[in-house]
Symmetry: C2
Subunit: 219 residues, 2 copies
DNA sequence: ATTACTAAGCAGCGAGTAA
DNA sequence: TTTACTCGCTGCTTAGTAA
């Protein structure tokens, strides 16, 4: 939706058009938005055509109410601002499911990690990680997480090799509980590794390429 | 602020630029906003010039953070959505102070009204009403109030004449407590009459033509 | 790889006006 | 009064490209 239409829809909502039919003329709306009557009229036509508002005409003025679709649009916009100002304890990622190289299984099965996952995250991980690829731009959010702190998984060694430390956060994938694991000794990649008690591909009925919502909880 | 710049500022905020310097390229932002690299670049130049963001350049990408002024702009936008979705128990009016015809004094001094104001609103009104002229478009909000209910002031008669009923709401003018009085037998005018224990013109140090904020409380 | 300039094209704006 | 059309013009957008 074009930002200038959103602005007008917001204005209508502030005048009460979400609960009522409001009586307004295009001139009044134009004044409010500091634009011309013609532009206000055109905006209304567009909003109507796209199904965001409903209009009725009288002899004077018109009666406008916001449709369910319009309310949805407003709610989405509102949710963005809530993310910015309120839900600082949650960070959302949208990404697509990808296959790893199978190393996830190797790592999650190491008793040295598994023990800590159980103890610190209360997760007995299903063997293997669930990998979500995010857009490069969202790596900024990943970087943010480090500042917020998280749950520390300590490094350890077996007689064969050593395993590095990792930073973990409780998280959900499409609502299903799990945790994300960020290896400390590696640059941020654009893949988030998720562990969960469940085999997420089955639980969520999801395959490679599907879009998922990952919500990370910051304490 | 132009709506399309607001959209970009919001996008930056969602990526964490309010607390951090985020690393983004104009191409990434363009993808996010579904526009061209050139447009994203231009938006950033504008936001910078207007003082909403700060930029640093590296060899690759740029580091962007939102300034206090940018945060202010986002907060204002957020407050609009809060008004729409949350503060349904408050209705705000912005208007200018005007003089009445002096009838306010006549009415507020009628014992039949004064008694009810004291009892139902706990206000012993200063003689005279404080009149606030609102924009015609805001009459819609006034109409909304009727649906929400309010405090009913009953009609009464003296031996000389009869006085009509009115609908009242607790309210504040620039933060000072009072109530608004909407006569039932009259169409909505674009003037809100406010009663208060205080002589508002003095208390608020306000004169005709000044802009005031009226917040009406709906129970 | 970046950012951002120039130039051309086109979308949005608003004056004028009809209905 | 209204709303909304046409149309000329402005200003936003983007391809091309420099740095």
């Amino acid at each position: 939706m074009k930002p200038y239409l959103m602005q007008m829809l917001k204005e209508l909502a502030m005048l009460g058009a979400m609960n009522n039919k409001i009586e307004v003329s295009s001139v009044e709306l134009a004044t409010q938005l500091e634009t011309s009557q013609q532009t206000a009229s055109r905006y209304l036509l567009e909003l109507d055509k796209e199904g965001f508002i409903q209009r009725e005409f009288g002899v004077k003025k018109q009666r406008i109410s916001i449709t369910d679709q319009g309310v949805d649009a407003l709610e989405e916009e509102y949710s963005h601002y809530k993310q910015i100002f309120e839900l600082k304890s949650k960070v959302r990622f949208k990404g697509i499911v990808v296959s790893g190289l199978g190393e996830g299984k190797y790592y999650t099965e190491q008793p040295g990690y598994r023990q800590q996952f159980k103890q610190l995250l209360s997760i007995d991980p299903y063997p293997g990680t669930f990998n979500v690829e995010i857009k490069p731009i969202e790596k900024n959010k990943l970087r943010l997480l480090k500042h917020y702190g998280g749950i520390d998984i300590k490094e350890f060694s077996t007689k064969n090799r050593s395993f590095g430390s990792a930073l973990c956060f409780n998280a959900t994938v499409n609502g299903v509980k799990g945790a994300i694991v960020l290896p400390r000794r590696s640059h941020y990649s654009n893949v988030i590794e998720v562990i969960s008690h469940h085999y997420l591909r089955d639980t969520l009925q999801i395959k490679d390429g599907d879009v998922v919502d990952v919500i990370v909880f910051v304490q």
